[in-house]
Symmetry: C2
Subunit: 343 residues, 2 copies
């Protein structure tokens, strides 16, 4: 059986309508709403074929049809068109990017917020992994009489404040002297490769105790940061979808969205700049089997600096969401490239 043009048109009609209404759609409705120039009986025949092809499903006998995961897949791969962002969307994003381009972690969080606002779906981001980042600068700053803050700037453009309790008083001068030497010693080192050696401590005559404490704190921090950081925005949007109007289903999803492990799996490990779309069952997470995720990655200097995903019911507006995500990723990667190219 061949998937002719008319079948495609009908499939598209079903998807469009179902995405908009969340109701199964019947042959008569299609004829009424979309001017295909054929009768409902013909549509019925075509729909029967589409069902045989596995592209649409009947939730129960004698009901209308809804798209199957396979149907969405076909739509996403071949039928869907990306649109350009509107002027409002564009300037909204421009502001967010220019206000946060200096610090990737803020940028990611703000972008997630922006996405959940623009799309009315839930956005998740995975933050740059500090673990693999290299230290670019370190500065010790007095905090209170007996403790200090070690400020770490990494090559992935993140800043980390690490509190270190020295249990003894110091002065600014000592701290800035130590900072100076520390910088010459550990700049360019990956957080995971930090080690306290005799040789290193010898560079800090009189301050060995302080330096040891600082380095220990750093080492702990970098090791602790084992997992990817995950940040979620717009979870409450989930409540707006009829597929989650059953409070039990809603609870399940909320639960899943709090499980970092699941979200990491969901965002996946790929590092492409392209938009990836995972539909329904294609993710292997039981609680998420009627959710889809549209995702992409950011890069700094060719290195993956974080991922971003938009989660919604499988019945989500793929075209709208993919277009927005596409626009965002292009703009951010562009801005990041301009920055590292210019700097």
């Amino acid at each position: 059986m061949v998937l002719n043009d008319r079948k495609i048109k009908i499939l598209e009609a079903i998807i469009n309508d179902y995405v908009a209404t969340a109701e199964p759609i019947g042959s008569r409705t299609i004829v009424k709403k979309y001017d295909l120039g054929i009768s409902s009986a013909t549509v019925r025949n075509e729909m029967s074929d589409l069902e045989d092809l596995g592209l649409i499903i009947q939730p129960h006998a004698s009901s209308g049809r809804i798209p199957s995961d396979k149907g969405y897949r076909l739509y996403v791969d071949s039928l869907m068109r990306y649109r350009e962002l509107t002027d409002e969307e564009g300037s909204f994003l421009r502001d967010i990017i220019s206000n946060n381009i200096n610090q990737i972690d803020y940028l990611m969080k703000e972008t997630a917020k922006a996405i959940s606002v623009l799309t009315n779906y839930t956005a998740i981001i995975s933050e740059p992994q500090v673990k693999t980042a290299k230290i670019r600068h370190i500065q010790l700053v007095p905090f209170d009489d007996k403790s200090i803050i070690a400020v770490i700037v990494t090559d992935t453009k993140t800043v980390k404040n690490i509190a270190v309790n020295l249990e003894e008083a110091t002065d600014s001068k000592t701290l800035s002297d130590i900072s100076l030497v520390l910088n010459s010693q550990i700049t360019g080192v990956s957080g995971l490769d930090l080690k306290i050696t005799e040789n290193l401590l010898n560079k800090f005559p009189g301050s060995e105790r302080i330096v040891t404490k600082v380095l220990n704190a750093l080492i702990m921090e970098f090791q602790e940061d084992e997992d990817v950081q995950i940040y979620t925005s717009g979870t409450k949007n989930i409540l707006a979808f009829p597929e989650f109007s059953n409070i039990e289903r809603a609870k399940e999803i909320f639960q899943a969205l709090e499980e970092k492990r699941l979200l990491v799996t969901l965002l996946g490990q790929t590092a492409t700049e392209d938009i990836e779309i995972v539909i329904g069952d294609e993710n292997n997470i039981e609680q998420m089997k009627n959710c889809s995720i549209i995702k992409a990655n950011f890069h700094i200097g060719g290195k993956k600096a974080g991922g971003i995903g938009i989660i919604g019911p499988t019945r989500m507006d793929y075209s709208q969401v993919a277009s927005i995500l596409n626009g965002i990723v292009k703009r951010i990667n562009g801005a990041l490239k301009a920055l590292s190219g210019g700097g």
Copy 2:
């Protein structure tokens, strides 16, 4: 009509049962569950009296009774007892406090998380207002070639990283020289009182442009930080309560919990260290009229450093929640005092 001992016992029984089951409770149930040595008919008479006193309500004729806001108020004010924290709760908190005592903002966030875990309600916190804080230390740290991070430590024990785009290259040496002089000039100044004066700029020969940019960024940051920061934890717990099992009600609450303005009102302006309990209608927020909030404040050096509140349905376990909050506040305020006393 006098509120005798027996009426009190019945009221307590109703509250306890209703808090546990969320079902209206009838006279026969009370007789069966609580050994009061009287018949259901007597209980009925007493319940009728309690209703006249406005302490309990019949949701509809010929149903059991549930406590009214006034009933909860009486319970909270006169009947409820605080318990000590269990060893587990205590050591759970001890860890969180000692791990975060150095930075109030982290401490607050972690505490909010801990509360939502311990109580299964939703916790909100208002963070220390940087606006009124005094600058204790400032340090400029190189970020990338043309931008830097200004690290600000305030007297309310918070650290702020402010990115400043210099649009020109600098070196570490210059930055640390500037930091040194800046410190001598603006330490002790409140963020809001920062001004760029001729006199001040004269202290930075050759670096006026950089200093101006830094100060402008600081001034913007402090002014922008006009509102209190609000942080929410455990919102999904709301879905567990039968009173919000209607998705529309749940949506309303989620909406309200995202409105900063409402939360600020809810947390209120008081600065007492005592636990305060606001029951149902007593807060004047329409969407929250069947929620209660239990709240308290933290102090650093006699200054309010943030508030914390626990939100749940009016049918919440006041005794449990108030006890936990009480234990937390005592411990944190104690730890903070020890710190400022010892430092």
